[in-house]
């Protein structure tokens, strides 16, 4: 599904990612854990295609294609989904219109007919229920006046509607209380499947109690310093990043 090879990325001339190697197979959930400033969000943005991130070395293969050559909207249409750490508000664009436009753009890319209003409303209601997003919020402007928890639920709601093959979730747990975290995690878990892969980026182990990963990577200073199973996350929680910081890169 996703193969990252020796990826080096600079922002404003400053190296942030310093040789990332990572392979995520269909059906797997990988977690990337790391302290602030380790390059977690940079990795998420590079995968989604945001401007301002310069790849100086390495490549990223997604379903065998060169991901870095694709425009952001093509990546999305090919099934990549970024769950934003800080979803932006877009006053004047209703949530439901936006999502319908997104879904139909993706369907068009796949050579499918657009979903009509009735079918879309049905789909949207069903998926909104999954993350307990109130009907009223689906009609409001995108993320406008949403609480932190509502924004994150809205991200997972969008993911549920768009049904990506690869979901990159950037600190989906930040700003969530425990109840909201459970709702979001349940939404994510319901989308797990043999054909779908997920890259869950988080600072804290807490999220991984609810979204149990197959593989855990520790990212420090732009490099993956440890890789293990879910127990590695627990170990990090107990010992802290300081212990693994001194470990040799694998």
């Amino acid at each position: 599904m996703l193969k990252i090879e020796d990826l080096h990325v600079e922002v404003d001339g400053k190296p942030i990612l310093k040789g990332i190697n990572l392979e995520v197979k269909a059906g797997q959930v990988h977690a990337i854990m790391g302290p602030n400033g380790s390059g977690k969000s940079t990795l998420a943005y590079v995968l989604a295609g945001r401007d301002g991130y310069e790849v100086t070395k390495g490549r990223v293969l997604y379903k065998g294609q060169d991901l870095l050559e694709m425009a952001p909207e093509i990546r999305a249409a090919e099934g990549l989904f970024l769950g934003f750490q800080y979803p932006v508000a877009i006053p004047g664009v209703s949530n439901i219109y936006f999502l319908k436009a997104a879904l139909n753009a993706i369907r068009k890319h796949r050579g499918e007919d657009p979903l009509d209003a009735i079918d879309f409303m049905k789909l949207s209601k069903e998926k909104a229920a999954l993350v307990q997003l109130p009907d009223e919020l689906t009609k409001r402007s995108v993320n406008d006046g949403f609480s932190g928890g509502e924004k994150k639920r809205n991200e997972i709601f969008q993911m549920a509607v768009l049904e990506p093959s690869l979901a990159v979730l950037d600190e989906t747990d930040s700003g969530l209380d425990i109840d909201a975290l459970k709702v979001v995690a349940e939404g994510v878990n319901s989308l797990r499947g043999p054909k779908r892969a997920m890259l869950v980026i988080t600072h804290y182990q807490r999220l991984l109690d609810y979204i149990v990963p197959d593989v855990v990577h520790v990212l420090i200073d732009g490099q993956i310093v440890r890789t293990g199973d879910k127990d590695l996350a627990k170990q990090l929680e107990e010992e802290g990043y300081a212990e693994v910081r001194d470990a040799q890169p694998l």
Binding site: P72, S94, F98, A101, A102
Partner: protein, 405 residues
Amino acid sequence: MTKLSRRTLLGSLPTSFETGPEWLRALRGRAASTLREQGLPTKRTEAWRFTPIRSVANAEFSPEEGSAPSLTSPVPEGVTARSLRQVLQAEPTLLEGLLDLGGTPTHFAALNTALFSDGLWIDVPAGMAIEAPIELVHALPTSSERSVAYPRVLITVGDGAELTLVETYAGENAGQLTNSVVEVDLGRNAKMNHARVHENAGLQVGRVDVRQDADSNYRSTVVTLGGALLRFDVRCLLQGKGAECQLDGAYLIDGEDLVDHHTLVEHQASHCRSAQSYRGIVSGKGTAVFDGIVVVHRDAQKTEAHQENRNLLLSETATVHTKPHLEIDADDVVCSHGVTVGSLDEHQLFYLRARGIPEDLAHSMLTYAFLESIVERVSHEPTRARMREAVLTRIPHGDDVRGIA
């Protein structure tokens, strides 16, 4: 309809006014002499610095007879809508003191005062709340003639009365000039929603003068969709304690069009509140001008006044001149003003594209959304829908963005 010979605007001022009631002849005389003294504005006139009208001042126009606006909605029972010309003939005293609400008029307003031949007076008696809006259309005939019209509208809303007025200014011919004056007199606790749609392809200088008594509420939303040269002034005089006004505007400027909005809010009494929000999108070689003044008089304590002008520049050849300013003589006030001139928000653009929306469609969505926050404030649903439609037809991929809000 008789076509009179073509003259320059100033050249068409008569030397004396022979018809109508004494007070009107005097008012027209004062307007004409002010105009002769000061002339039409030039580039050196501060309020016209960015809006060159020399070609208008030098051009010859033939007067358009019968340029009164047409009523396109039924007039609710109890409300009167009468021709100004008829009232001036039959019961002129009813209008005395109501056709110069803003004081002695200057420049184009003076020209209108001196030369208007007809117009409309809508009166909502005290205590009457009208739900259905009254709709007016100002449309110039589609002749190729270079002509000038002087529409004049007077709105009087009695104590505790409520009115929604929707005005549309339309015209196809770029050579035609509309010089309009709308005067609004709001009684105590009166309320008015005033929506204006400017779809005039030609030249227009328009003015709205509002006088507000205590606890009255005036809300104006203007949507301006291009035009060779359009200049609109709105002036609110908050004369009674606790009066409120909200002035909102959206403009979409393309080609070589120039659109100039001036606002003036005078807080003359205490505990009044005013807010202004104008937003526009300028592309091509278009020019937007915004000049907003809030004056807080010495006795107008507990004033709250806010002013905001935001602009999206979509081309390198588009220009914005914006100047919001406050003149405050009272000490116990809350005032704010702000201006932005920029391009589409990169974060929003990326968010949309990251969900699969193609870049050009994402541009259109954000362009539309920028104006939607003004359009959504129009309370009358059919008018709001019409404004949305008018904006959508003028932005790229507008058809694909329909239903966005």
